[in-house]
Symmetry: C2
Subunit: 248 residues, 2 copies
């Protein structure tokens, strides 16, 4: 399993992804799921993947090699596409290409062709954007109404996002809330695990403000987890007791 | 969908269940999922169900009518079984009986025979117990190590349970934490909805301490939801900012 979340706020974008992959609970490994494509001062793009690891890796390989754009005749990569829309189309073509190659055999063996992508970033003076892409290669986009998107196992980490994230939240708060959301998932689901990768992009900086790996020894994340646990306990203790029933 | 949770602590048992059923998102109705079987001073049993409504209702009908125990030749109901183990066996027989009647036709139409039960309670001077029963009629039981069990949609409401519930929590706190867990689920999943039914059993009282329906006008629950939202926001604000990146 996987948990990746992207949060688009007024001043920037936060992307967080775990690194655990598993084929059965006794076959666990660490693979980076959050990738950065950057030409400082010109573009910065984050890409997070969930689903079948072989599909994700094949898609990434194609993106690194470059894919022909049939409309322009050019070989495109995330480092040369001219817009975030074109980046989403390029990734869609890569996913469909891998489906063409591996999809039928996977399906013959009863496996689903499953891959999801979070794509975020900014190219030149166009807006900073965040997309959620599907196994079919199509995409939806975050808006101020729904500023966060998740792939992988979204449920454990959703309550805090639903309550604390809005488009006007500051970037550093979005990062903190995203890390709490990740912590809730790590705490409740063994198939999501440390280390956790973080990418923060501030609007119009056209470069990563943060691209950092949080491992088990990360003091800040350890402190955040402890404080959050304590705060949750304190929060429920501060709520009055239920008035139902005389004896309670 | 459904969300029901049972929490067994040293001094008692809390069971909470929502009431929303849906067959598609445009076909939503209210059905009680948490039921009480009580002979004051002698026994008190709570039963919560999730899964296919027709299966749950058929099982409940059989439990009300009574089922023959092939070992004793007696017709058993939850009001006359001699122990909680026998209660679990009785429910298991009821589930298997409904499977016998409806299972093959459901499966012919590509539907899964899906029903889960939370069974909790105490009979006489035997211990207060809590079980999770499956569509196959078998059961697992809560222990001090894992004092809570969930059926339906467990994920949104699990983080708070994982952090705040232990066997030595007081009953009233278990109720409060259970309601917060329900609130997290209501907030994030439209297929779980008010009203919410609550059953609280204190150990050795052999009667319900609370059997209450919480609707949208319930002042305490409304206050709890507001306070919890505020407390979550305050909790994340009290955590220091991430030290990653100079600009944050």
């Amino acid at each position: 399993m996987t948990y990746c979340v992207g949060i688009l706020v007024e001043d920037g974008l936060v992307m967080i992804g775990d690194t655990r992959t598993n084929a059965g609970i006794d076959n666990i490994a660490t693979f980076r799921k959050l990738h950065k494509f950057e030409v400082p001062g010109e573009r910065v793009i984050g890409l997070a993947t969930s689903g079948n690891l072989s599909i994700s890796q094949s898609v990434l390989s194609l993106l690194h090699e470059g894919l022909l754009n049939p409309d322009t005749g050019q070989v495109e990569t995330l480092l040369n596409v001219h817009s975030m829309t074109a980046a989403a189309h390029l990734i869609g073509r890569a996913i469909r290409k891998v489906y063409e190659i591996d999809g039928p055999a996977l399906e013959e063996h009863g496996l689903t062709f499953d891959m999801k992508v979070l794509l975020g970033g900014q190219i030149g003076d166009a807006p900073l954007r965040l997309f959620h892409m599907y196994s079919e290669g199509n995409a939806i986009e975050a808006t101020p109404d729904t500023p966060y998107l998740q792939i992988g196992e979204p449920k454990y980490g959703k309550p805090i996002l639903d309550r604390a994230i809005s488009y006007d939240v500051e970037v550093r708060d979005a990062l903190k809330i995203g890390l709490i959301s990740m912590d809730s998932t790590l705490q409740s689901n063994l198939s999501v695990g440390l280390p956790v990768d973080v990418l923060v992009i501030r609007r119009d900086e056209l470069g990563a403000a943060v691209f950092h790996r949080i491992d088990a020894n990360d003091d800040y994340f350890r402190d955040l987890r402890e404080r959050w646990s304590k705060a949750l306990r304190a929060a429920h203790l501060s709520i009055p007791n239920p008035p139902y029933g005389e004896v309670l």
